[in-house]
Amino acid sequence: MTPVLALLVDAYRLLNARKIFWLTMILSLLVVGSFSLVGIDEQGISIAWWDLELFELNTGSAGYTKALFYKVIFTEFGVNIWLAWIATILGLITTASIFPEFLGAGSIDVVLSKPIGRFKLFLIKYITGLLFVFLQVCTFTTASFLVIGFRGGVWEPGLFIAIPLVTLFFSYLFSICALLGVITRSTIASLLLTVLVWFLLFIVQAAESSLMFFDLMLEQRVEGYQTAVERTETQLAKVEDPDDTERWAFLHETLEKRKENLAEAESSTASLDAWHTGLMSVLTVLPKTGETIELLSRWTIDLAELPEPMASTSRPLVNDDGDFRPDRDRLGQDMNEARRARSSWWILGTSTIFELVLVVFSAWLFYRRDF
């Protein structure tokens, strides 16, 4: 246990010696401090001494609760923007050098000459690399919990789930960074390549979201044309006067067109489904950075808590002229529900398997290498 503790203490000393660690900590506290400037009441929201009357954001007619308001601020701004982007980039800058410096000539020799196995040594070093984000998220979440509690009167222990989630999210990227650090032994190369991989992951996830959006839209299109076909068939059945051939012919022609539109929509849906399924297969083996962070809002904000959406005007998806116009509100809800329907185990499990594979491979390279 003593060597493990020694390596942990050494990791803390390393972070302590880096100004960027403290800079990030101060910035984190400033972000949390900004939460205390924001309030919500029956008329709208207040930012410092400005009161903004907002029809769609208040505890009165809009139906927001204080708890929901602060949870949304915490997840959307505090975690999704600050921790998952800015603090993560600062974290990578701080920790990218851990393995290249550790493996440098003259640094590694003394440590390897100690009675610690190489696998164990690598894993301890890897875990200590996550200390940066762990300490930052602990501070950020605890400060947020207190500020939201005192400022908004809402004590929400569920916020603390951000600590393991954000640390896990960072660990996906750090596993890539560690592998590249072991291979290249260069801080700059491992940092830049990690950011590049992160960007590629973002592209894959964004592409999957877009395909899902278009998939749902096409489903609406199919649904719209199915309704239009049914509507036209009903109209056709209602043509009572058999001599009204002009109307019968018009409806018949319309019905044929709607059926063609329906077949075309179904064909497009099938084609897009195939693409979506293919991309999902790719995504399954990759770490799901975005969805891991999204789990925070899934776990802390119940959909039932959200204010009821304003009743949308009930208009057909396909009008009488045969034009399809998607119901965007429903599309947004469907997207939200479809993403929420994905199993947390699938999101975290497959991502963690990716990380484990990389960590084991890095450890194996470390184990076999001569220094």
């Binding site: 003593t2 060597p3 503790l5 020694a6 390596l7 050494d10 000393r13 390393l14 302590n16 010696a17 410096e101 440098g104 000539a105 003259g106 640094s107 590694i108 020799d109 003394v110 440590v111 390897l112 000459s113 100690k114 009675p115 610690i116 196995g117 076999r368 001569d370 220094f371």
Partner: protein, 326 residues
């Protein structure tokens, strides 16, 4: 000697890098417990590779033998080993005390013991005053002293030091030499890797000289220089006519002085010669016992029959032409 008497007993050590560079080619080496052993050799002879294999920093291609009575690579045995690598690079955010205590902690020492030992060793290497300063403020010599202290923090049975006096001033070198002798007197084994031959000569009980991945010579300095031992007698006048009758004697005339060289390390053997010179009425100006220095020995080891010094680096196998004859 048994395994217990040998701190290091390795045989047939091979190491090939990237399938072509043969850094070690069948090294056999024994280091007795409680002795100061010096490993010499030109750059690239494989000294550091051998040390790194013992320290599990480099994996051997082939090896047999023991290190402190255990198979090479047995991690728990390293609990009793202290190591100062060449060109060490301790993190500069640590203080001298941190480095020593960190090294002790990695060796599994308890906090109280490593603190006590750190204080004692800081004093022993003359670094107490700078114990709480960060390494980035240290000179090369100070870093070396702290490096030595961290190698001793776990009260090791064997201390492996790669160029321990590198960057240290003459006063510091002497202190380190004294320290090594003290460690030996405490019963510890010292394994030294150094280019400073004169220093090794002063402290080593036994040495080995490595050339191109093989041990070229090994033994005590007395054993290695035995054949080169001679007495030189300077006397006034020409070469004595009877000198040919003396076994292992040669002469050289320089001006009015004749230098008689007799290959022996026994003073008793030269007494008849001195008697005859006196009987001849010759004036004897100097009698001098001579033996090869370690530097002479080293140069002899690294020079081949043609008088060429061994090239640095391991032996590189030529690439085999694809499809051609080997």
């Amino acid at each position: 000697m048994t395994d217990e008497q040998h701190a290091i007993d390795v045989r047939d050590v091979h190491k090939t890098f990237k399938k072509r560079v043969k850094a070690l080619r069948g090294v056999d080496l024994q280091v007795a417990s409680g002795e100061i052993f010096g490993l010499l050799g030109p750059n690239g002879a494989g000294k550091s590779t051998l040390v790194k294999i013992l320290m599990t920093v480099v994996r051997p291609s082939r090896i047999s033998g023991t290190f402190l009575g255990h198979a090479i690579g047995h991690k728990p045995a390293l609990q009793h080993v202290g190591y100062l690598p060449e060109h060490h690079n301790f993190p500069d955010y640590l203080t001298g005390r941190h480095v020593i205590e960190f090294s002790g902690a990695l060796a599994g020492m308890l906090k109280h013991d490593r603190r006590t030992n750190a204080n004692r060793l800081l004093d022993r290497v003359g670094m107490t005053r700078w114990a709480s300063s960060r390494l980035k403020t240290y000179s090369k010599g100070m870093l070396q002293r702290v490096g030595l202290a961290q190698a001793m923090v776990n009260d090791p049975k064997i201390v492996v030091l790669d160029e321990p006096t590198d960057g240290v001033d003459p006063v510091g070198r002497r202190e380190i030499r004294d320290l090594l002798l003290e460690l030996r007197d405490e019963g510890r084994t010292i394994f030294l890797n150094s280019h400073l031959l004169s220093e090794l000569e002063m402290v080593c009980d036994r040495v080995a000289i490595m050339v191109q991945g093989q041990v070229s010579m090994h033994g005590t300095i007395d054993e290695l220089t035995h054949d080169s031992r001679r007495f030189e007698i300077d006397c006034v006048g020409d070469t004595p006519s009877w000198i040919d009758s003396i076994e292992d004697a040669t002469t050289e005339i320089s001006g009015e002085t004749c230098c008689i060289r007799i290959r022996t390390d026994e003073p008793h053997d030269i007494q008849p010669v001195l008697d005859r010179l006196r009987n001849d009425g010759r004036i004897i100006t100097r009698v001098h016992a001579v033996r090869e220095s370690l530097e002479d020995l080293f140069m002899r080891a690294v020079t081949d029959e043609r008088g060429e010094v061994a090239s640095p680096g391991g032996v590189v196998e030529p690439r085999r032409a694809k499809g051609g004859d080997a």
